[in-house]
């Protein structure tokens, strides 16, 4: 399979305030990319703009998945085209069982032409698949009966997102700090799960501060974002450098981007999901 996610000169505003100022990024199917950068640099914004959050206005540039222009699509169409984002703080949907939610989601993503009201994946078939995936990811079977993210601990939410990714098997997945707020064991488990499900089977864009996640998922490319732009790209060694030494060198090397970053974090926090 060969697919390409191509982001060109992407400018994104939230409430008319510019956040991304010309992002260029190409991810091929099967590659792992790390996206790093200080707080407020625009990492989550890039993810949400790709996923199609309605509050993130694309003012310039394009996001293409193969020949399809994602920028023209609603979030659900992008999902059906093969884009997935694991959210930092996924919302709860009270009263909706995780299994029912995933069954509907998987049906729509696997059958992008499905019309509303048409049949879902047969219950028995879906349950079997879900059970197998949950065993693989060492997730308590009770999860399926619980309401979507409702009353979940931080770790449970992250694992539910990974399970969702496993069930939807997208072409490209953005993981937004899927390791944050977890203890060491949980990070190890999440990292191993992502490697098992994602590596070579999709294009991965991993937003992270941690090295554990990248240890299990060594990136071919590391991108550093500052002030709404990708200012530097390197290999796995760049991720290690940033993890060990922080962003001082980057901030000094790119004073314009640093100034933009300071200006952005001085403003209100952008909407996070």
């Amino acid at each position: 399979m060969s697919h390409i996610l191509r982001i060109e000169n992407l400018h994104v505003s939230v409430n008319d305030k510019p956040i991304l100022r010309g992002v260029n990024l190409v991810i091929k199917f099967g590659e792992t990319h790390a996206l790093m950068g200080p707080n407020g640099s625009g990492k989550s914004t890039l993810g949400l703009a790709i996923a199609g959050h309605p509050n993130y206005q694309i003012t310039q540039g394009s996001i293409m998945l193969d020949d399809a222009n994602l920028t023209q699509m609603q979030a659900d169409e992008r999902s059906r085209a093969g884009v997935f984002m694991a959210f930092q703080r996924p919302v709860a949907i009270p009263g909706v069982k995780t299994a029912d939610f995933l069954r509907h989601a998987a049906t729509n993503v696997r059958r992008p032409d499905r019309k509303e009201g048409q049949d879902l994946i047969p219950m028995r078939e879906f349950r079997k698949e879900l059970k197998a995936k949950m065993e693989q990811l060492k997730i308590d079977p009770d999860f399926a009966r619980r309401y979507v993210n409702d009353g979940f601990s931080g770790g449970e939410m992250k694992r539910a997102e990974i399970l969702t990714m496993a069930m939807l098997s997208p072409k490209f997945a953005i993981l937004d700090e899927t390791d944050s707020g977890l203890d060491a064991d949980a990070v190890r488990l999440a990292s191993a799960s992502i490697a098992e499900i994602g590596r070579d089977k999709m294009g991965l864009l991993i937003i992270t501060h941690h090295d554990k996640l990248l240890e299990h998922n060594p990136p071919q490319f590391t991108h550093v974002m500052l002030g709404g732009r990708i200012v530097e790209t390197g290999g796995a060694e760049l991720a290690r450098e940033l993890h060990d030494q922080g962003y001082d060198r980057i901030r000094k090397s790119y004073p314009d981007a640093e100034a933009a970053n300071q200006q952005m974090i001085g403003k209100e926090e952008p909407l996070a999901v």
Binding site: V96, H104, V273
Partner: protein, 443 residues
């Protein structure tokens, strides 16, 4: 008689005047006690005013568009069930008895023979008032006073027919009893429902009302009385799905005796305007009641529910949960009251109302209240109202749901808490399907 702007055009001296009432009495074959009761109610109807818009229960109601002259009481013999009238609560249900009415007149009745042999009575209220005269006389309008308001008086005087269910002592009716009220376009349903469970009796009653088409006009002015003696169990489901041009006025009362249990599920989806006065009285120690209310409105529908959970005896439990979802420019009003009488110690009362608005023009009024005259009680109440959360919609969309699928799912989830309380699976499914059908396509 004074009138107000709300009701000055309401009256009709023709279709609902003295000649109409006289004709009705002449046509009917009622026992003397019933004729006397009707006359007494008619006196009340003629001597009191229409509800005053300054009255707390009516101040959020709008009945300016109601003209009684557009309607006439049905005193003729029954007609056919209008084609296309939906029946929603029967799917997958094996019933023990069934009564169907059209325009407030019963057209069919059936009852399992074995139950009849045990003394169970199910059928037309008019017929039962003759065949089981003493029994019906004892209970009819024992909970609803014709003086409650002018609609109650009109209904007590002119009720056309309805349903009577009687379950004798210690008899368990295993399979549900189904009641269906159909009303043709432009017609009137002045029906009354009377259900009596003797000590230790058990029954499940599924009662639905519907019109042959979505926009059907009509006038329903009805009453429901549920009388439960000691240790009886009643599950009562009431689905109001009239056409969206129908006026619906109802007084609904339950009286729950010692250690008896009532589970009352109300689902209201139909009618242009509805004013429902629902009261559950816990009259002897140990009585328990659970009320589950599901309201789903659209267009310019306006549904008003005034509920009262009245603890008259100690050690009783009442638990009311009403949830509404509103679309378009529709409006719901829920006014809940927990009343604890003097001496009703160890009362456990709970009421909650949650509203989910799917449009900016919808409006939900929620007015919980407590009136407590005992000092050792636990009463809690609460309400929430809010718009459907865009972040939830985006989350579902990012997982492949279309916007309208996402909203439908969020609405279903919102009602799930109530569905989890409803112990009859077919009812959960029927309501779930009806709700899913009604969620609009949202762009």
């Amino acid at each position: 008689m004074t009138t107000s702007a709300m009701t000055d055009k309401l009256d009709s001296t023709e279709t609902f005047g003295q000649p109409a009432f006289d004709r009705l009495l002449e046509k009917r074959i009622d026992p003397t006690w019933l004729t006397a009761k009707r006359k007494e109610a008619w006196e009340t109807y003629q001597s009191i005013d229409w509800p005053n818009p300054r009255d707390e229960n009516w101040m959020r109601s709008d009945i300016r568009g109601l003209r009684l002259s557009n309607f006439a009481p049905n005193i003729d013999e029954s007609v056919e069930i209008p084609e296309g009238t939906p029946v929603r609560l029967l799917e997958g249900v094996d019933v023990s008895a069934s009564v169907r009415s059209v325009n407030g007149m019963v057209v069919s009745e059936s009852l399992d023979e074995a139950l009849g042999a045990q003394g169970v009575i199910v059928g037309s209220l008019s017929r039962c008032a003759r065949d089981h005269s003493a029994l019906v006389e004892r209970y009819l309008h024992s909970l609803i006073s014709p003086k409650s308001d002018r609609f109650a008086a009109l209904q007590a005087a002119m009720w056309s027919d309805g349903y009577f269910i009687y379950v004798p002592r210690n008899v368990r009716v295993e399979k549900p009893i189904h009641l269906h009220a159909a009303m043709a376009d432009g017609q009137v349903d002045l029906s009354h429902t009377l259900i009596v469970l003797e000590s230790g009796a058990e029954a499940t009653v599924l009662f639905e009302s519907s019109s042959p088409d979505l926009d059907a006009k009509g006038l329903h002015c009805g009453g429901i009385e549920l009388i439960q003696h000691g240790n009886s169990h009643l599950r009562f489901v009431n689905l109001q799905d009239w056409g969206k041009g129908t006026w619906h006025f109802a007084h609904q009362r339950a009286s729950v005796g010692r250690d008896a249990q009532l589970q009352w599920t109300v689902a209201a989806m139909g009618a242009k305007f509805a004013q429902v006065d629902q009261r559950v009285e816990l009259v002897e120690p140990g009585a328990r009641s659970q009320v589950n209310g599901v309201l789903f409105t659209q267009d310019r529908q306006h549904l008003v529910y005034n509920t009262l959970q009245h603890h008259k005896a100690p050690h009783c439990i009442s638990d009311f949960l009403y949830k509404s979802v509103l679309q378009d420019r529709s409006r719901t009003v829920w006014r809940g009251m927990i009343k604890v009488s003097e001496g009703a110690q160890k009362t456990d009362g709970y009421q909650r109302n949650d509203n989910l608005m799917l449009s900016d023009s919808a409006r939900a009024d929620s007015i919980p209240g407590l009136e407590i005259n005992a000092d050792d009680v636990r009463c809690t109440h609460g309400s929430t109202s809010g718009r459907v959360d865009e972040e939830l919609i985006f989350y579902a969309q990012s997982r492949g749901f279309t916007r309208s699928e996402a909203i439908r799912m969020i609405v279903t989830g919102f009602f799930q808490q109530i569905f989890d309380r409803i112990t009859i699976q077919s009812v959960r499914e029927a309501l779930g399907a009806a709700i899913a059908r009604q969620v609009r396509q949202y762009e």
